[in-house]
Each structure stands twice: as C-alpha cells, then as structure tokens.
Symmetry: C2
Subunit: 159 residues, 2 copies
DNA sequence: CAATTATGATTAACATATTAACTATAAATG
DNA sequence: CATTTATAGTTAATATGTTAATCATAATTG
C-alpha cells in the first residue's frame, strides 16, 4: 500500500506537502515517537523522559551536582520548568536540593544514590531502544545523520 | 572551539555519549527547536504549534471537516488532548464543533473562514522557517533524510 | 559605599501531553 | 431483539512546557 493510500483512509484527509514540510514533519514525528518509547521505559523506574535527562546531566557533573540554571541550559529547558522537574525528582528521592553557600541565589541539585542506581538500571533498556531506531544505519551513516541534525540545530550559527 | 570544550563550560558537565545517544539527542533537540520556532511564528496569528496542525488537517480534509478521532490519529495525538485543543480553537473562532447526524457518538470539527485565513497568512513565514532548517541540503539529500526519518518512525513495521 | 543593574530561582497562569475512568451510542452476537 | 462488546468522546489527575511577574542576592558603577 502506498503512503498516499494509507493517508487517504482517515476521513478524506488529503496531505499535499512539499518536500521541506515532509522532512520537518517526519523529523518531529520520529522525535515524538522516541520520546514516548523512552517514557514508557523510564516509567518502570518511576521516572519521566525529562526527569531521566536531568539525572543524567547531574550524574555527569562534578560531584554529581549542578545549579538549576546550568542544568536548564544544558537541557535547553526553561528554568521555571526545571524548578518543577527538580521538585518532583526530590519528592521521589532521586535528587536533593540545597543552597550554594558561596552564592545564596543558587540552588544546587545533587543526584542521590537512588538516582544513580536508577540511571544504571535504565541503561540496558534505553540503549536497546535507541538501537532499534538506528538499526538501519551504518556507523558512517549515523555520523552523517548526526552532522545533518547538528546543522539544523545550529542553523543560525555564523561560520 | 571544539564541541567538548563548549560543553565543559557549564559547571563541570562532562558528556560521554556514544554515537547512538548522540544521534537521538540531536534528533530530539532539532525537533524541539523547530517546534519552538514554529510556535513563535504561529503566536502572531493567535495559534500554537498543535492548534496550527489541527487546522491544517481540517483544511485538507473533505468539506474542511473531520472527526476528533480521525484528527487525533492523523496527528498522532491522544483524543483527550485533541478535545482540549479543539475547545481552545473553537473558543477563538478558528473551528466549530458539531455532532455528526449519522452517528451521535461523533464530534465533527470544521475549520471556519477565520481558520482558513490564518492558515493562508501563516504559510509564507512558515515556509521561510522550514527553509532555514534545510538550507544545507540538496533536494537529493532531503529525500535521503526523509527516508531515514521514515525508517526510524516505522522501525517496527514488518517488511 | 549607595544606587542601579544583572543574575538565579520561584510562583502564577496557561497550553499541551499522558493515562485512567467514565458516559453515551453503535455494532455484534446469542 | 436483548445483552454484550466496541467505539467516540469527555473529564480528572498529573507532568511538561511556555511567558510574565516577582523576590532575593550579587555585581557594577556613579
């Protein structure tokens, strides 16, 4: 069955997208599906996609800790959003929040042993999941794809 | 400056990602950035990313209308989510909601003239935006990228 | 060093997204 | 045709995400 035929089946919906829109729609769909699949995996460990990514950032930071602002910049997330995610992570014991004695404005987030264990336990299933998305590609093709995606992300950077 | 050096600057965060994770992280980041840029454009016309996409689906459907379930399937969105988006679109006059006389269970969504005008007015800026993301690619490269992304989205389809 | 400006984080208000539970209607089946 | 099952949609509860406004503290500067 062709793609056109497939799409025709839903109440007379007639997609008529140009190549640029097709690519961008496909990009968003692939990303959303990956996020949903990841969420389903993380859920088994009491975490969401965003919470897992905060834990990963902290786990790779010096002393397992970093500030709200740094974490939000690394994850490209707004700080009000980070505040909420951090509160829920703290409520469930995956991190602790404490003031920075050197700068009273700063809230430091620190991963707990429970948080570290969660990251470790999730790794296998997470790696497996990512593999299913990239099984069609050789290492060289992955590198090309990565460069392509980075180009898109840095589209406004001057050379 | 190398990528590694760039990332090292945020509070001792040391990324140590394998190629698969790098690709998937880059995919999600590119998608989120595109959604944010699109949102900023649509905002000028009183629409969000999701609301615009519902309008586009209806605009391409027979008689400018479709059911909640069909629209949610086309957009890969849950029906409770579609209910909320449709209510906000109706509140702002972009669509109307009505019962299907042939099946009392069905709620039909129909784009209004105001909705059609919004779609038309947005087109230029939206096309321009998509172009900035894909300016690095030839038509052939776009086709290859599109196929790659479709592969990822259909990763579980049997051949 | 007092006043201004910048930074870090939070709260509030809202849109989007999920799952679970529910209602109403249609379709299938004994 | 009455009962069961399936389908369509909504509501409720919760997580994620945004912007705007606010508060506290730090840094800058006149």
């Amino acid at each position: 069955m062709t793609d056109e035929k497939k799409n025709m089946e839903l109440g007379g919906y007639k997609p008529d997208l140009e190549i640029n829109e097709k690519v961008m729609v496909a990009l968003v769909k692939a990303s959303e599906l990956f996020k949903k699949d990841s969420d389903a995996i993380f859920k088994n460990y009491g975490l969401t996609f965003s919470q897992y990514n905060v834990l990963r950032v902290l786990n790779k930071s010096t002393d397992g800790q970093n500030s709200v602002t740094n974490a939000s910049k690394i994850m490209i997330v707004s700080s009000p959003n980070m505040t909420g995610i951090a509160k829920r992570l703290e409520k469930n014991g995956f991190i602790i929040r404490k003031n920075d004695p050197k700068d009273e404005r700063i809230t430091l987030l620190e991963i707990t042993p429970k948080g570290k264990r969660a990251i470790e336990n999730i790794k296998t299933a997470h790696d497996e999941n990512m593999k299913t998305y990239l099984k069609f590609f050789s290492r060289e093709e992955k590198k090309k794809l990565l460069e392509d995606l980075k180009h898109m992300f840095n589209k406004n950077a001057q050379k």
